[in-house]
């Protein structure tokens, strides 16, 4: 029963994510694109839940849907761009489309030929002491991966200073 539910969940979320991603790149109005992006982000969060990553799913909703998307909407509203900004040069479109299609085919072919694909179903993350996802996650993040965590804080500081100095009017 669980397996069937998981299957249904995967297909619904996956197909919605792909369709809304397609809509994202094809809408002319950036506001519509942003809303489709929101839907994609929610579906991806659902996929994370399926993959035993509940904490990541929560962060996905908070950071992407809550912060990044709002930032995008702000900029779209602020600039109110007049140019439609869709494809001007058909040559470029055809080239870009072909390139990405080739890359797509390449990836699919590689995946199909890969040995990793023949594995059986996913077993889930090992949690012998019943700590739960958040605890497991944080134990690793704040012991093993403390250095990159601190570097990311430097990076966020740089990005903050930079964004202010560039966008500020003076």
């Amino acid at each position: 029963m669980n397996a069937i539910l998981a299957n249904i969940g995967f297909w619904v979320l996956g197909i919605t994510a792909v369709v809304s991603a397609l809509f994202l790149v094809t809408r002319e109005n950036p506001v519509h694109s942003a809303l489709w992006m929101l839907l994609t982000f929610f579906c991806v969060a659902g996929i994370f839940v399926q993959l035993d990553a509940e904490f990541i799913a929560a962060i996905q909703v908070m950071v992407y849907a809550g912060a990044i998307l709002v930032l995008y909407m702000f900029v779209v509203m602020l600039l109110n761009p007049k140019s439609k900004g869709f494809i001007k040069m058909p040559f470029k479109v055809i080239l870009g489309g072909i390139v990405s299609f080739i890359v797509f085919l390449q990836i699919i072919m590689t995946l199909m030929g890969a040995d990793i694909i023949k594995t059986t179903k996913l077993t889930g993350i090992n949690d012998p002491n019943q700590l739960g996802n958040v605890k497991l996650f944080c134990i690793d993040l704040f012991t093993k991966y403390i250095v990159p965590f601190e570097i990311v804080s430097i990076m966020l500081l740089v990005a903050m200073i930079g964004a202010i100095v560039i966008a500020k009017k003076d």
């Binding site: 990836i107 590689t110 030929g113 890969a114 040995d115 990793i116 093993k144 991966y145 403390i146 250095v147 990159p148 570097i151 990311v152 430097i154 990076m155 500081l157 740089v158 990005a159 200073i161 930079g162 964004a163 100095v165 560039i166």
Partner: protein
């Protein structure tokens, strides 16, 4: 303290000190008056000198801490030294340019300082997480520096182009990285190497991921065919940040790439040699050929930066200690000569209707401003690799390393390319010395820019005339 804790601290202390100094710089920036923001940059230089002295090269020692994640050894030190040179020279040379363009802000120096921290982490990384975090710190700083002149359309254009292509390439890099992670089961260089020895090297997943990862790397060092952002970005960015961008991030990417290839990909090293060889050949040939056709000196230097990246890749192909010693030496020499050239380029102001950096602006400069012309001559000759200047030593060492690895075809192509490169560097000197002035050009070198170019020129001549000392120095540091 347990020995483990001491080891952890030792493995990371230069970066920690740099971060603290960076935070002090942020505070200093707030405290200085608007017209004295160059003080922030000078303080940055002082801090770097202090850090270089504290982090004196630990010859022969290796401090590997935080669960095999960060490494501090003399290899990291040499690259840190290159970034310190790049930062100091750029800062000294930038003050007058920034003042004239009305963008003399403390943030310029703060961000550059933090980018040095990111690059240090990149080079000393023993784990892909550390590497990625460092790389993005560097990359984001570079986007900001490229778009720093916000009133100039070209500068923001350069920033946007750099941003889109940089983010695109790191997306590809990450996608490849996931497959490498999936195939080897770890992000740690040592564990990746162990997994590769254990048979993961032959899986399709790993090969596919590796190709994508290396493509992402190639974007960062502007190797052909992933170079298309480089000329526009270097041309549009403010001249001092362009000088910094051609030197430091490239050196950091090369340093990190060498470490990644030597530690993590050591079991598959022979597979990579051919890939890097072809990449190096295409990169330098293309960069040189297109540079021939340029009439804008800044753009010409941008294409020549691509060609120099190809030369550095050549040192990687040989896969022997001489190879990476020569890359480090090349990066040091390149820092001196290229930042010197960019500094001198930044002071030219054409009063006519054409761009400041057009070749015609340089016509007849030897008569109106002989010192300037002499400085430019030294840098151009050095970039062209004419003996006895430093550029020749760098190229010579790289080619020798290639010969030692018995890659004669590559050495021959490298030699031919450096001959090809002579032509377009010579054009600038010919314009300066043998043409009559066409436009009224102001090339007054301010004091700080003079100091930068003077240091650069002196170092170029010193390394050129006493190569054995410097070659041996790099050799003892990078055993």
């Amino acid at each position: 303290m347990t020995p483990q804790a001491i080891m952890n601290l030792l493995s990371i202390y230069p970066e920690v000190i740099m971060t603290m100094f960076g935070l002090i710089l942020v505070v200093l920036d707030v405290m200085t008056k608007n017209e004295k923001k160059s003080m922030v940059g000078y303080f940055g230089i002082a801090f770097l000198v202090i850090t270089v002295l504290i982090a004196w090269p630990p010859v022969g020692k290796k401090f590997l801490g935080f669960g095999n994640m960060v490494m501090w050894d003399s290899y990291s030190f040499v690259f840190f030294f290159i970034f310190a040179i790049a930062y100091s020279l750029t800062t000294l040379g930038s003050v007058s340019y920034l003042k004239e363009n009305g963008i003399l802000k403390g943030e310029f120096y703060t961000i550059m300082f933090f980018s040095v921290v990111g690059m240090m982490f990149m080079v000393s990384a023993y784990d892909l997480t550390v590497f990625y975090a460092g790389m993005e710190t560097m990359a984001i700083s570079m986007y900001i520096l490229a778009g720093f002149n916000k009133k100039c359309a070209r500068s923001s254009e350069a920033g946007i182009k750099y941003f889109i292509i940089g983010a695109f390439s790191s997306g590809i890099f990450l996608y490849g990285l996931t497959f490498v992670y999936g195939a080897t089961g770890s992000m740690n260089y040592l564990e990746i190497a162990a997994a590769l020895k254990g048979g993961a090297a032959s899986t399709t997943t790993f090969k596919f991921g590796l190709v994508l990862m290396l493509a992402g790397f190639a974007f960062k060092i502007s190797a052909v065919p992933f170079h298309m952002w480089a000329p526009d970005v270097y041309q549009g960015a403010p001249t001092p940040s362009a000088g910094f961008m051609t030197v430091a991030p490239k050196a950091a990417a090369m340093g990190a790439l060498i470490r990644f290839c030597w530690i993590a990909l050591e079991p598959v090293g022979n597979m990579l040699a051919l890939f890097f060889g072809i990449l190096a050949v295409i990169t330098m040939t293309y960069g040189n050929l297109v540079a021939l056709a340029q009439n804008n000196v800044k753009r010409m230097l941008a294409y020549s930066a691509i060609a120099h990246a190809g030369f550095m890749l050549m040192g990687l192909v040989s896969m022997n200690p001489e190879g990476y010693q020569s890359v480090a030496l090349y990066a040091i020499i390149y820092a001196f000569m290229n930042i010197g050239a960019f500094t001198l380029l930044g002071v030219v102001k054409n009063k006519g209707m054409i761009d400041d950096e057009r070749l015609e602006s340089f016509a007849g400069l030897s008569k109106t401003n002989p010192m300037y012309a002499l400085g430019m001559l030294i840098f151009m000759f050095s970039l062209a690799g004419i003996p006895p200047l430093a550029g020749f030593i760098g190229k010579f060492q790289v080619i020798m390393a290639t010969m030692k690895a018995e890659l004669y075809w590559l050495a021959i192509i490298g030699g031919l390319n450096s001959a090809l490169a002579c032509y377009y560097y010579m054009r600038v000197t010919i314009y300066m010395y043998f043409k009559e002035p066409e436009y009224e050009v102001d090339a007054t070198v301010s004091r700080s820019a003079f100091i930068t170019s003077f240091i650069g020129a002196v170092m170029v001549i010193l390394i050129g005339f006493f190569p054995t000392f410097f070659v041996n120095l790099v050799k003892t540091l990078l055993v």
